[in-house]
């Protein structure tokens, strides 16, 4: 049991940190521009494919740095020449713009890399078991993913709270006009934040793509859960995104690990016959409903705490 708990915790934290890398950019972009970027997960996918391509040419380490740089650059250009132009027409236009962008990115990726999953593998020098807990190996690459994403998290917190650039970003979040009056180029700050946010998503793509599967529907698989993270954490709150990411990562992993069902607790009192609706409800395990738990959490949060766990404004 202890083994299952430790391994599940590690898996859950890792999944949570990956979610955080993406959600942090999404929540920053939202708090600045007031627009939910529907194409955010597409930049995660773009990062994975660029990571695959660059690691084919130059190896994994260059890919780890170059892919987010390119994806972030594309993100900044999208903000500068796309979103900023659309911004005049209001939030709905912006929302539709990012919605369309997600489809365009998916189509372009399918055109370049095809519809099949690409053979993006863990680099051989990281392909070994790092340590053993009881009798279960924990792969070195996953350890690397964990350490790397925690390092980025610390770096991000440092950037936002301890540097001058971070101060300007934070000020632009709440008082964009005042920051503009003080002589800072607020649109450029927006552009940089958009670029930074998409680059963070791309980093998640580069490291997750190698461990899991890199294919043209990976954005669609992850997109919805990102919105859950930012809403549960509170739109615009970095700490909220962090806590919500870990919460959802652990929730999903532990849900899979548990075999609880109503039947397990109440089976002695009521035993429905096989084939009836009640039987299905009675025997469904937490593991089976695991994938919908985050959305259940989303609904509950929206009802009971519309600002999210750490948010300051209503969603």
């Amino acid at each position: 049991m202890a083994e299952l708990i430790i391994i599940s915790t590690l898996n859950g934290v890792l999944y949570g940190m990956l979610l955080f890398l993406m959600a942090s950019g999404l929540t920053l972009i939202f708090s600045m521009m007031g627009v939910l970027n529907f194409a955010h997960a597409s930049f995660y996918m773009l990062g994975a494919f660029l990571g695959f391509q660059i690691s084919q040419w130059a190896g994994f380490i260059p890919a780890l740095f170059l892919a987010p740089l390119i994806a972030g650059g594309i993100g900044a250009l999208v903000e500068r020449y796309g979103l900023r132009t659309v911004h005049k027409n209001g939030h709905v236009a912006e929302l539709l713009f990012t919605f369309g962008l997600a489809f365009i990115i998916e189509e372009v990726i399918q055109m370049i890399w095809g519809k099949l999953s690409v053979d993006y593998r863990v680099p051989t020098w990281l392909d070994f078991p790092a340590f053993t807990i009881y009798a279960t190996n924990y792969p070195a690459y996953k350890t690397f993913m964990l350490v790397f994403s925690i390092a980025i998290f610390i770096g991000l917190i440092y950037l936002l709270t301890r540097t001058r650039a971070g101060l300007i970003i934070q000020a632009s979040l709440t008082h964009p006009n005042m920051v503009g009056m003080l002589g800072h180029n607020v649109p450029r700050v927006f552009m940089l934040v958009f670029g930074l946010g998409t680059a963070l998503a791309a980093i998640a793509g580069v490291i997750a793509g190698a461990a899991y599967v890199t294919q043209s529907n990976m954005a669609a698989l992850l997109g919805p859960i990102l919105f859950v993270v930012v809403v549960v954490g509170g739109l615009g709150s970095l700490w909220g995104a962090f806590v919500a990411s870990l919460l959802i990562g652990l929730l999903q992993t532990f849900a899979i690990a548990s075999d609880w069902s109503l039947n397990k607790f109440f089976g002695d009192f009521i035993t429905p016959t096989r084939g009836t609706l009640l039987f299905d409800v009675w025997t469904v395990t937490i593991a089976q409903i695991g994938p919908i738990l985050p959305y259940l959490l989303l609904v509950l949060v929206l009802i009971f705490r519309p600002t999210g766990l750490f948010g300051t404004r209503e969603t």
């Binding site: 898996n11 399918q110 519809k115 099949l116 999953s117 899991y212 294919q215 529907n217 698989l221 899979i256």
Partner: protein, 423 residues
């Protein structure tokens, strides 16, 4: 400014309409198929299971090239036409309709039992409403028993052994494996996965009641990117073996996660041979501990089939996933020859009850009572290849070795089918 937008849009819409009408007005090449007999291949060619759909397509292309080189069917060439169903039930029917609109009257599909049921019902209804234009559905891999039982149709023919037959083969094999004591079931959360689970429980109870089932899991189909949490659970259950019907990415990622965690158990699978599966098994170093059930494997010593396998590998760089696909297409060609017609109504009557020498040798029969093909089945294990075995998989140096054979009579499960034979 606000008024101009709708006008622009209207203009665009008008252009679109004209273009669309022009396209529709073009004469469609429906009748101009005198020289070829087209077969619509409706399977996922994009998305998570695209790898499987793509390999299947290559298999069929080679199978038909082989048949065409030997004269085709009734003097015509056979051609496979791909349609992407995006692993989606609605899209499947849209694509089948599209194929029929193009004048194609033979449909083949295999991935996804739920889609197979949809096609079978659609084709049956279509044929009732369009006498003289019958369409036939050749099923090479959708294995839910229901297709040849309660929902059987005269227009559906299945060449793959169904879940019940496969599970009968696996559990018969397990009778000789007394080292297996604790079994874990993990399957995909849809009709097929549930079927595998229920049949495993039923047959284990009959044939190996001493085996303890220590876990019984279903997970979302084609949505899990990391099976590590499931592997942790299998590990914690103390299982020594796993039965799974997983296919496509769901089997390769499952075994990959087992490799990462160092989980050493036996895997009794339906489809470990699929794309990525062999590579994952080799990485996991599970030498001869991963088993697959099937109607044929590359290393079966049978010259004709080994020559065929080599030809396919040289040309398309894929293994023969579907020996049953060879049976299907060869029987189709033979039936068309015998009926002297490529009208589905005529050759379906020949397929009904047809006997045939199967790809890897041995007698097979398209059972008339339910259109389920009866054939010898094999259990094979995956490990380093021996000197007399010509084929490895995915360049791993490992290949399939036959671990047991189950004769046709031993998978002769009963059927509840009451077939409506057209007059």
């Amino acid at each position: 400014m606000k008024w101009q937008m709708p006008k622009k849009l209207l203009g665009l819409a008008a252009v679109g309409l004209v273009a669309g009408a022009g396209y529709l007005a073009l004469p469609q090449k429906t009748e101009a198929q005198g020289a070829t007999i087209k077969i619509a291949y409706v399977d996922p060619l994009s998305g998570p299971m695209a790898g499987i759909g793509d390999t299947g397509l290559k298999n069929f292309q080679y199978i038909l090239e082989d048949i065409n080189a030997k004269g085709g069917a009734n003097g015509k060439k056979l051609e496979i036409v791909p349609f992407d169903n995006k692993l989606n039930a609605q899209e499947t029917i849209v694509q089948v309709q599209k194929a029929i609109d193009q004048g194609i009257r033979i449909i083949t599909q295999g991935n996804g039992t739920s889609f197979a049921i949809a096609i079978s019902e659609f084709v049956t209804k279509y044929n009732e409403r369009n006498p003289g234009k019958e369409v036939v559905y050749l099923n090479y891999a959708a294995v839910d028993p229901i297709l040849t039982n309660d929902k059987c149709s005269y227009w559906h023919f299945r060449w793959d052994a169904n879940t019940e037959q496969k599970m009968a083969a696996i559990t018969t094999f397990l009778q000789g494996r007394k080292d297996v004591k604790k079994m874990y079931l993990i399957n995909q959360d849809y009709a097929f996965g549930h079927g595998v689970r229920d049949l495993a429980l039923k047959f284990l109870k009959e044939k190996r009641p001493d085996i303890e089932v220590v876990g019984n899991e279903v997970h979302p189909l084609a949505k899990v990117s990391d099976f590590a949490p499931y592997i942790a659970k299998i590990k914690a259950s103390g299982a020594d073996s796993v039965i799974t019907g997983n296919w496509g990415n769901d089997i390769s990622l499952l075994i990959k996660a087992a490799a990462d965690a160092g989980l050493q158990v036996n895997f009794f699978t339906f489809y470990a041979g699929g794309t990525g599966g062999p590579t994952a098994v080799k990485q996991a170093n599970l030498s001869n501990r991963v088993f697959a059930v099937g109607e044929g494997f590359a290393n079966i010593p049978h010259k004709a089939s080994q020559d065929f396998e080599k030809g396919l590998r040289d040309k398309y760089k894929v293994s023969l996933f579907y020996p049953r696909g060879v049976n299907q297409m060869r029987m189709l060609a033979a039936a068309i020859n015998q009926a002297k017609s490529d009208d589905p109504k005529k050759f379906a009557a020949v397929l009904h009850g047809m006997k045939f020498e199967v790809f890897n040798g041995g007698q097979g029969e398209m059972r008339a009572s339910d259109h389920q093909f009866m054939q010898p089945m094999y259990m094979a294990s995956f490990g380093p290849i021996k000197a007399d075995q010509p084929f490895d998989e995915e360049g791993t140096g490992w290949g399939w070795t036959i671990a047991g054979k189950v004769d046709t009579k031993d998978t002769n499960v009963s059927t509840t089918c009451k077939m409506n034979k057209p007059s």
